[in-house]
Amino acid sequence: MAFTKRPDGRKFDEMREMKAKVGVVPRADGSALFAFGDTIAIASVYGPKPLHPQHLQDPEKGVLRVNYDMISFSVNERKRPGPSRRGQEISKVTEWALAPALKIDNFQNTVVDVHIVILQANASTRCAGINAAALALAHAGVPMKELVSAVSIGKVDDKIVIDLIKEEEDYKEGEGSTDIPLAFLSESGKITLLQLDGKAQTKKLKEIIEAGKKACEKVYELQKKTLKEVKGE
C-alpha cells in the first residue's frame, strides 16, 4: 500500500506546531526551549569562559563545545542515563551545525558550552536541539553572524514529507522511510547540517533540500519572533 496519508493527518508539507521560549534555565548565561509537536528540546549556554583542561585551549580563537543527550524517559523504552555513541555523534554534528554562525574568534582560550537535553522524543530531536541551541546562544549574547535553523525532511515511500514523526520514520512499505535532517544559516542560506539515513534518488534529494530550505525559513521566523520578545534583564 502506498503512503498517501500522514498518520497524524498533516499535509505532506505541513510542520507540527512549533514552540519556542527563551530563559528556561535561569542559572545559565542563555537558554531556550524548542519543540516540534511533542518533540521537546531544551538548551543552555555557559560562557565564553576559560577552557579547562588547558591543553584543549585554542590561542587563536574561542571554542564551541556541544553536548546532546536524551533523558531516560524521553523515549518509550527507557534509555540508560549517560553518554551513548549516538549522543556523541549528534553532539559533534550539532557543533558543526552551529559553529559557522558564531563570531568567537576574539575570545582566545575560552569555551562556549552548549548543553542540549531532549525532554521528550518523537523524531527530529537533533533538529529541535539545534534550534533551541541557536536561540540559547543568541539569548546568552554570544556574538553571532546569523542564526541557525534546522528541520528534518523525510522521504516516506515516494513522498517528501516535512518534519517527520516516529511512526513515519518506522514506515517499512514501498520505498521505506528516509530521514534527512538539515540546518541552514539564516542570512547566507548555507547548509550546516546534512545527514541521510535510508535511500533517496538524487532528483528527490534536490527537492528535499529545497523543501528543507522553505521549512527552515518558518523555523527562523519563529526564532526571530521569540528573540524579539525578550525583555532586557
Binding site: V25, P26, R27, I71, P83, V117
Partner: protein, 276 residues
Amino acid sequence: MDVPNLTKKRIKDYLEAGKRFDGRKLLDHRNIEIEPCVSNNAEGSARVKMGDTEVIAGVKMGLGEPYPDHEDEGTMMTTMELLPLSSENFEYGPPRINAIETARIIDRGIRESGLIDFKKLCVKKGEKVWTVFIDLYSINDDGNLLDAGALAAITALLNAKIPKYDEKQEKVVFGELTTKKLPLTKDIPITFTFHKIGKAIILDPSREEEEASDTRLSIALSHGKKEIMVNAMQKGGEVPFSQEEIIKIIDAAEKKYKEIEKELFDKIEKNLKAKK
C-alpha cells in the same frame, strides 16, 4: 561560579539576625510548583519547582529478576542526573558522589515508607517482577535539588500507569500503557533537608545558602498507619550537629510535615485532576 566568601559571611551575619536575603523566615519554603504528567513516553512523570530550582522526574518500568530474598516482590531503582545544563558546577561523566547520595536518600525515603506495594509487582514468583525506575534530572540548580527531587519522584509515582505486558511473548509492550495504576499505599513520604549555617538552622536553601552551609540533615517522613514516621535520615557535611540540634530538627521536621502535608497533597491531586 563559586559563591564568594564575602557573600557567605554576609549570609551568616544575616541569619544570626534571623534574616535571609530573599526575606524568608528560616524555616520557610520558597514557592513550590508541582506539575504532574509532563512526559508522553514515561509511565509517570512530574516537574517540581522550588523557587528557581527545577527538577523533572520520570517513572519507567521494566521486567527483571527479583532479589533472591524477596522472590515475590518487585524492585525499584532511583537515579539522579545532575545535568551540566542546569549548573556550571556539574560535569558530564558517571554520576559523582553528590548525585549518587541525593538519589539514594530519595530512594530510601520512598522504599522505607512502603509507598510502593512491591508484592503487587510480582509477575512470576522467583522469576519475573516489575522494576520501577525513578529517574530524576536537574533542570535548574538554585539550591535544594534533593527536596525538590523527592517531591518530583512521589508525584511521578502517583500518576504512573503500568505498561502492557504480552504474556505470550513474555515481554513488555513499550508505548502502550494499561489503565492500571502503580500499586501504591497512602504512606507518601516528604523529604526535608535542614542546613546549619553558623548557629542558624534553615530549610530549603538557595544555592548561595547551600554553598555557605556547614552541614545538613535530610529527613524523610510519611504518615504511616497511625502516626507520622521518619523513613530516612542522613547527615551530610563535615561539621557535627549537637544532640539538641538534631532533636530540634526532628521536631521541626514533624511540625513542617503536618503543616505542609495537606497543602502539598492537595496541590498534587488538584493538578493531577486538571491534567485528566
